[in-house]
């Protein structure tokens, strides 16, 4: 029997039972579209989160004082610090050719007041490099000036929340602000950016790192943010950073380096596993649809006993019968897959229309995996009915009219 003839004959059998076949195809279609939709949703969540991370600033590396074995995740709050990371360490890093920009961070909580209003605010001592490393945008004014970082200029930059609470609708640029026991002039206000990497950039005040050193009476940095050469692999950059600091710390490797890559990779892994999990749960419906196909095919074999008997009598080998029923099962799951993919893609497009913020993209692997699983289910669950059909004894099959 020719292959095309087998397919046509099997297709005719499917068309012969329109309702039954279309319900089976629907079942398979729902399973496939569920897999496609859910995995694309998971994927969307994943690219959303990783997108948020890239907004932190490209090629960012964080250097923390203290040695800690970590491959990303949340940096240790209280690192054991055998030796402080100082402004001079940060500046030394900035002189390396692999580092584009450096932003030392000194952190503390200090009462800040203006025009009789006072509030406790997170104060960050840093340099002009911060603007580039953290990809900051100004709402008005300018950021800290690029000059000698050791100079304690009486300037500061406000976050949007602080500005609103201290000045409300009033003019803030050029006003004086009291930070702890120091006074400084407001030279700029940051554009609202929301919470990222656990710190609310809207709810803080930035001032030159030298001012912060005096304010907090310390020379130890909370951390150093670096923007490395994008052409360089981050491991190589990390090795270079470690070498520079070791030179300055008498050969002691006492820093922790967190690259944006490793943090991102961790989140990416978590969300990928989550997406796969969701996909696998949806995949269960494919197995259910496979069982549906088996059920329908078994009914079909029973109903068409006489037909099978006739085909055997007029000379169809058992293999032909088996193949016919397998093709029928595969056609059912194939049609289901086709409609399911179509529905899944349409659903994803519709969701994207409704929620444009969600970067919905159907991952190619989910299309391949759901289609593959559906066809495999058709093959596996179609096998038993096909074998049963081929085993029918032509004499008994024919007498059953």
């Amino acid at each position: 029997m020719r292959g095309t003839d087998s397919i046509l004959l099997a297709f005719g059998a499917i068309r012969g039972h329109r309702l039954r076949s279309s319900l089976t195809i629907l079942g398979m279609g729902i399973g496939v579209s569920a897999v496609v939709l859910l995995t694309s949703l998971g994927n969307a969540a994943r690219s959303y989160v990783t997108g948020e991370f890239s907004e932190l600033g490209a090629n960012m590396v964080i250097v923390l004082p203290g040695r800690n074995e970590t491959t990303g995740g949340i940096p240790p709050i209280m690192g054991e610090t055998p030796r402080d990371l100082t402004l001079d360490d940060a500046l030394a890093l900035g002189r390396s050719p692999v580092i584009r920009e450096v932003a030392p961070v000194m952190l503390g909580s200090v009462p800040v007041s203006a025009r009789g209003l006072e509030r406790e605010v997170t104060v960050i001592g840093t340099t002009s490099g911060m603007e580039i490393v953290r990809n900051l945008r100004m709402a008005r004014g300018r950021f800290l000036a690029a000059g000698d970082p050791h100079l304690a200029a009486p300037e500061c930059v406000l976050g949007e929340t602080v500005r609103k609470e201290l000045f409300g609708a009033d003019h803030s640029l050029g006003e004086w602000l009291r930070i702890g026991d120091r006074r400084c002039r407001i030279i700029g206000v940051l554009a609202p950016s929301g919470v990222s990497l656990g710190s609310d950039l809207d709810d803080m005040v930035m001032l030159p790192v030298a001012s912060a050193e005096i304010l907090f009476n310390t020379s130890s940095l909370f951390r150093v943010l670096l923007q490395v050469d994008p052409n360089l692999r981050q491991e190589d950059a990390a090795r270079e950073i470690r070498r520079i600091i070791m030179d300055r710390h008498e050969g002691e490797d006492d820093i922790t380096i967190i690259s944006q890559d490793s943090v991102l990779a961790t989140f990416d892994r978590i969300l990928l596993v989550l997406t796969l999990g969701i996909g696998a749960i949806a995949g269960i419906s494919l197995a259910v649809a496979g069982i549906l196909i088996m059920n329908i095919m078994l009914v079909s074999v029973t109903q068409r006993t006489a037909e099978i008997g006739l085909l055997r009598a007029i000379g169809a080998p058992a293999g032909d019968i088996r193949r016919l029923f397998l093709i029928e099962a595969l056609l059912l799951s194939g049609l289901g897959t086709g409609f399911g993919l179509l529905a899944g893609i349409l659903g994803a497009v519709l969701l994207h229309r409704l929620y444009p913020l969600l970067p919905l993209a159907i991952p190619a692997w989910s299309v391949a995996a759901s289609a593959g699983t559906a066809m495999l289910a058709g093959l596996v669950f179609g096998a038993l009915p096909a074998i049963r059909a081929a085993r029918l004894n032509p004499v008994t099959a024919l007498t059953g009219r």
Binding site: M1, R2, D5, L9, G12, A13, R15, G16, A306, E307, G309, L310, L311, R312, A313, I314, G315, A316, P317, A318, G319, D320, P394, V395, L398, R401
Partner: protein, 222 residues
Amino acid sequence: MISLRGICRHYRLGEQQLAALTDIDLDIAQGEYLSIMGPSGSGKSTLLNQIALLDRPTAGTYLLNGRDVTSLPDDELARIRRENMGFVFQFFHLIPRLSAAENIEIPLLLAGIDPSLRKRKVTEAITAIGLAGRSAHRPDQLSGGERQRVAIARATIMQPSTLLADEPTGNLDQATGKQVIDLLEDLNRRGVTLIMVTHDQAIGGRAGRRIRIVDGRIIGAG
């Protein structure tokens, strides 16, 4: 040339052995017109199934054109049936979802014959049975006699040497039954061996050679 030697067919029914056929010796020459008659349950259909190679004997030997086919594998038997035997059944056994032409085409389909040749042969066959205008009709749109004529066209499309008919008129009225018998006898006159099971004396009596079977044994020409 079909020759059966000592063919027995026993069924197991629980503990009991049921002898459906006992010691059948039968030679059928090419071109013969043979009727098998007997009361129901006598084993005439069982004998037809043996001749048709649809069922294997419990004991005995089957020689087809001098070749022992008793213990050939199933697929080989299927091939022999496809190429040498045509079947006509009481209940027609047409596939309900296929048109008359498509039903006739099935044996050609199974033999893997080229589509253009298939189309030509089917057109010839359907014209020969006088149903050219109804080739696109499905079985439920045909009368009983028309259905049996389609079944005969299907049985003869591979030009088999032997035609096996099991109560071919059992489901037809007198007049259409006569037409079907005429069609079969016409084929026999052209050299096809015709073997017919019937319990209708009038029809069985028309055959050139008649066999009576009772309790699984041939009890002579009747």
